[in-house]
């Protein structure tokens, strides 16, 4: 069977489970850039992101039989990429807790933000802040999921996100 980029996810999974190299390559091609981007944003380093992508897809192909289709394949792969990326970066101390948060945690973004500057600001965040911000605001995970992934409490996840946004706001400044 010829594997093309337009093939259904089920066909690709079947081909990968049969150890068909073309199916594996097609699956990789379909997700590689999205997953490389996630890996880069979490690690903040191109070389580490390459290692993450490589290791993560090896895990994907070796453990694909364990994919229960409780989520989309993309979400399943992304979780593997995130876990692999987190294992590569330096363990950050998540000391800030919800108790330390001010009563008003809203951050005002009163002007249009430039995506390029935002990207630079995100990458300049401390690892702990960046990880939580990327996972929640960019990748769409919930606080409970992030808490589970990072081994922290939900309160810590919330506080990390608040301080990450505060730092970004300071970095990006006010509108000209």
């Amino acid at each position: 069977m010829p594997y093309t980029i337009s093939m259904t996810e089920a066909d690709l999974i079947k081909g990968c489970l049969e150890q068909n190299r073309l199916a594996q390559k097609t699956l990789y091609e379909r997700y590689k850039n999205a997953m490389y981007t996630v890996a880069y944003r979490v690690t903040g380093d191109y070389d580490l992101a390459e290692d993450v992508l490589q290791d993560a897809f090896i895990k994907v192909f070796r453990h694909l039989s364990g994919f229960r289709q409780e989520s989309t394949l993309g979400a399943w792969i992304k979780t593997i990429v995130v876990r692999t990326a987190l294992s590569k970066i330096k363990k950050e101390q998540y000391t800030a807790s919800l108790d330390q948060l001010p009563p008003d945690t809203s951050i005002s973004w009163s002007h249009r933000l430039d995506a390029e500057y935002l990207e630079k600001a995100i990458l300049a965040l401390p690892t702990g802040y960046r990880t939580v911000f990327v996972l929640i605001e960019v990748e769409g995970y919930g606080h409970q999921e992030v808490a589970d992934l990072l081994g922290i409490t939900v309160g810590t996840s919330k506080s990390q996100l608040f301080y990450a946004k505060k730092r970004l706001r300071e970095t990006l400044g006010k509108p000209e």
Partner: protein, 203 residues
Amino acid sequence: MESMHEKNLKDALRHLPEHRAPEFIWDRIEQHLEQEGYLHQAIAELPTYTAPDAIWGRIEVQLGGGGKIRRLSSWGWSVAAGVAIVVTAALGLYQWNQTRGRVSYAYSEEKVAPINSPRDWDDAEADVQEVQTLFANFCKYQAQNEEDCALENELKELNAAKAELKDVMARYGEDPDLIRELSQLEQDRSRVVKAMVEKIQTS
């Protein structure tokens, strides 16, 4: 009684007053959407990075370079083993043929003297003729019935066949089949002559 209480409760719940949402709540929502909206809009526009092509090569190496791994079933292994044995044997025979000494085939032709050659037969012909004359006298003077003289006619037929066969051999050569046929004729003539002699002796 209980059902009446339940009905009254449901009626009371149905007539509970509806409270109006304060207007400022929407203002807060709108403010939040505006504040976060800029952030989320920028997040949606964040760049996507292209994975270097070399990564797939590294993945492929770790997966094993052979592509699809096919596992042979038990009969597949049997077939494979059989093929391997046949190929090995064929190669062994070929190698043996290449390395062993050259075989030379020696032969010679021997001319075998024909058994019962016509000349020998001709030498015995005088004896046969003598017996034939004696048997003719036996038939003429001593035979009791015609059956005793049947051998005379049989010998005459065999003699005629021999003469005809010798004529063919003179024209077409001494073919092995003709020689075998002549040999058989001589054996029959010998048998008849012997029987003639026995008849003469016992008379």
